[in-house]
């Protein structure tokens, strides 16, 4: 019983502290993906991204407003990021029970807005409302599905008060999706390769149809062999992969890509036999997922070139350079792009 008064006291102090900022300045009212009406500042200057997908989207739209990274960029990512963002602190993520950040740490970074970009369900809706109430910082959740990408970019642009920038990126996203659809219209279903997504150094983690980690494969028309029941990641045996006999393997693991040719249990798989194992580039953000955000737009083009070398149009290196320039604000030279794409 000793604890009770102290809790009540804390709650009262917190309420007193947090009731204040929300009404302290002018703002706009946004209805976010969960249907909540949120009063956000007119021009947010210190924005906290709740998870890696939101972090990437925030970086592409308004890097100067970032208060930190969810996870600090690795050394190999730095050449592809604006130097000013390289020094930002790692703050951790805010995703319910898996938090690596406490609210006091969040408040210490003095954000005027929290944005999240990803799955919209009751858990995240509730989380957004709770954090907003407890921390007194407006919390906006934007739909992270692939199909909604252009609209989500515009929504986020509106929240961040950078509508022109958002319009440019959204137009790029629409063009990329349209180009992808046009390409698929040329290629009959039965000429699209079967694809296995290999994760982990052994290549035995995969993601099935309908999982956010493999969504892009179907979007490019690849036929994902893993018809697994789970929405997330699954473990499979090499024998299962042999049985599936995928024509193409896409991997995000450097070790696996380097070693698969000499791993006895992978011999005879068509993709390995025909040299069609492709390592997805990952700097500064992954091409396939990690995180599932706007970075997947360039993954679409890359994957089209890998799955349909005879049909895919355009110069991949030029496309990558253009994308990095537009979205990430960097101009990697020819050698850097070649290295990024694995030669």
């Amino acid at each position: 019983m000793r604890h009770f008064p102290s809790h009540a006291l804390k709650g009262a102090i917190l309420a007193a502290l947090t009731a204040f900022p929300a009404f302290a300045f002018d703002g706009q009212t946004i209805t976010d993906a969960t249907g909540r009406e949120v009063l956000v500042p007119a021009n947010p200057a210190r924005v906290f991204a709740a998870g890696p997908p939101a972090s990437t989207l925030l970086y592409t739209l308004k890097p100067e407003a970032m208060v930190g990274w969810v996870r600090a960029p690795k050394k190999g990512d730095l050449p592809f990021l604006l130097p000013a963002t390289a020094e930002l602190p790692e703050l951790g993520r805010l995703t319910g029970k898996g938090d690596t950040l406490n609210l006091e740490g969040l408040l210490a970074s003095e954000p005027d807005l929290i944005v999240d970009y990803g799955t919209v369900n009751d858990t995240y809706k509730d989380l957004a409302a709770r954090v907003q109430e407890q921390a007194g910082v407006p919390y906006v959740l934007i739909d992270g599905s692939f199909a909604a990408l252009p609209q989500s970019i515009r929504d986020m642009g509106k929240v961040l008060a950078v509508p022109e920038r958002a319009e440019t990126l959204a137009a790029y996203a629409e063009a990329a999706l349209a180009e992808n659809d046009a390409l698929l219209a040329e290629i009959p279903e039965d000429q699209r390769p079967t694809v296995y997504l290999a994760r982990g150094p052994e290549g035995l983690e995969t993601a099935g149809k309908g999982s956010i980690n493999a969504e892009i494969i179907e979007r490019v028309g690849g036929r994902n062999v893993a018809e697994v029941e789970s929405k997330g990641l699954a473990n499979v045996s090499p024998e299962q992969v042999q049985g599936w006999a995928p024509e193409v393997i896409i991997t995000i693991d450097r070790d696996f890509a380097a070693n698969v040719g000499s791993m006895p249990e992978w011999q005879g798989v068509p993709a390995v036999k025909n040299g069609r194992v492709y390592l997805a580039p990952s700097a500064p953000f992954g091409f396939i997922d990690t995180p599932p955000s706007v970075n997947r737009l360039i993954g679409l083009k890359w994957l089209a070139h890998k799955l349909y070398p005879d049909h895919a149009k355009g110069d991949l290196k030029a496309d990558v350079a253009a994308f990095y320039g537009l979205f990430y604000g960097v101009k990697p030279d020819e050698a850097a792009i070649t290295a990024l794409l694995g030669g």
């Binding site: 029941e229 299962q240 011999q267």
Partner: protein
């Protein structure tokens, strides 16, 4: 014995890659297509063999522990070996080590954990007593468990965390011939003294004083049994991840067949464990498209079988 052979045959014949019995027979006699050879020699047979090995090792370790600690509730994990080996391996995953190094880290940490428990208990007052030993094991095991949680917290949630989760639930999915070759010597080295000394170990179940009156130094023999069981369990966990239940349950199953005498119990427990593990692993790789972790299956399949056995033949296990 026949049961084990039948289980091995089922394990070799069934799998997600379609192979007819004729194809299997062709490959086994040295022929067959290249693809069937790859599947059978590089994937399926090493895995079936590994399952048999892990099953036998965990069951033997469990039977030995239950006998020397004179307690039917004891499993090979009692001195923290699984938690320790698990901690070593997930630390290896966190550091991004090669697969073989991850297994070595697990093996080393499992042995290290038990060594620490032994040193700790011997340095305490009343050291060498079973109760002190077990309490030290529980304490160190809890520390290792906390270490695992910490590693999970630090791990990259998109790539490392799923790998750690799968690993802690136990799986033979990625097993290769070199993995089996690496674990085999350690397991045989642990099994050999248990088999050779099975009479003497059996006498420990009568109590330390009786053993002494028959000229057996209980403390030293118990140390040897712990060392052997730790060696085998560490090697198993390093190869297959953490697989619960087998080490606790199979010795009881075997005891229902043989009665409590360790010299009879040990071989039956090993055969039963090997056969059971092969069947469980066959189920793990065939009942769904994705791998079902062994830790889940051993409990789901094992617990009902175990209860059924208890209701049938409760006469001989509580002597």
């Amino acid at each position: 014995m026949l049961g084990l052979i039948a289980a091995l045959l089922v394990g070799a014949a069934v799998g997600p890659y379609p192979l007819s019995l004729r194809q299997i027979a062709e490959v086994l006699s040295g022929g067959g297509e290249a693809q069937a050879q790859t599947v059978l020699w590089n994937i399926r047979l090493p895995r079936v063999f590994a399952a048999a090995l892990v099953g036998a090792a965990l069951s033997a370790a469990g039977a030995a522990y239950q006998t020397v600690f004179r307690n039917p509730l004891v499993s090979p994990d009692i001195l923290g070996v699984s938690a320790g080996a698990g901690f070593g391996a997930v630390l290896g995953i966190l550091l991004g080590l090669p697969v073989m190094a991850i297994q070595m880290a697990g093996f080393g940490a499992g042995i290290g954990t038990v060594a620490l428990v032994m040193l700790l208990s011997l340095s305490l007052r009343g050291g060498g007593q079973v109760l002190v030993l077990v309490l030290c094991g529980i304490a160190v095991g809890a520390l290792a468990g906390a270490g695992i949680s910490l590693v999970k917290l630090l791990a990259d949630p998109e790539q490392q965390l799923p790998a750690i989760t799968f690993w802690l639930m136990g799986s033979l999915a990625g097993i290769k011939r070199p993995d089996v070759a690496a674990a085999l010597p350690a397991i045989l080295l642990g099994l050999a003294p248990l088999i050779a000394l099975r009479w003497r170990i059996g006498i420990l179940s009568l109590g330390d004083d009786e053993a002494r009156s028959m000229g057996i130094e209980a403390g030293r023999l118990r140390l040897l049994v712990i060392a052997c069981a730790t060696l085998m369990t560490s090697a198993s966990v390093a190869m297959a991840g953490v697989i619960g239940w087998i080490g606790l349950m199979v010795p009881h199953m075997a005891r229902l067949i043989t009665g409590p005498r360790f010299d009879r119990l040990l071989p039956v427990a090993m055969l039963t464990g090997a056969g059971f593990m092969v069947l469980v692993d066959t189920a793990a790789r065939t009942i769904a498209v994705m791998e079902v972790p062994l830790g889940i299956l051993t409990a789901v399949l094992g617990a009902p079988v175990f209860v059924w056995l208890l209701t049938r033949g409760a006469k001989s296990w509580a002597e």
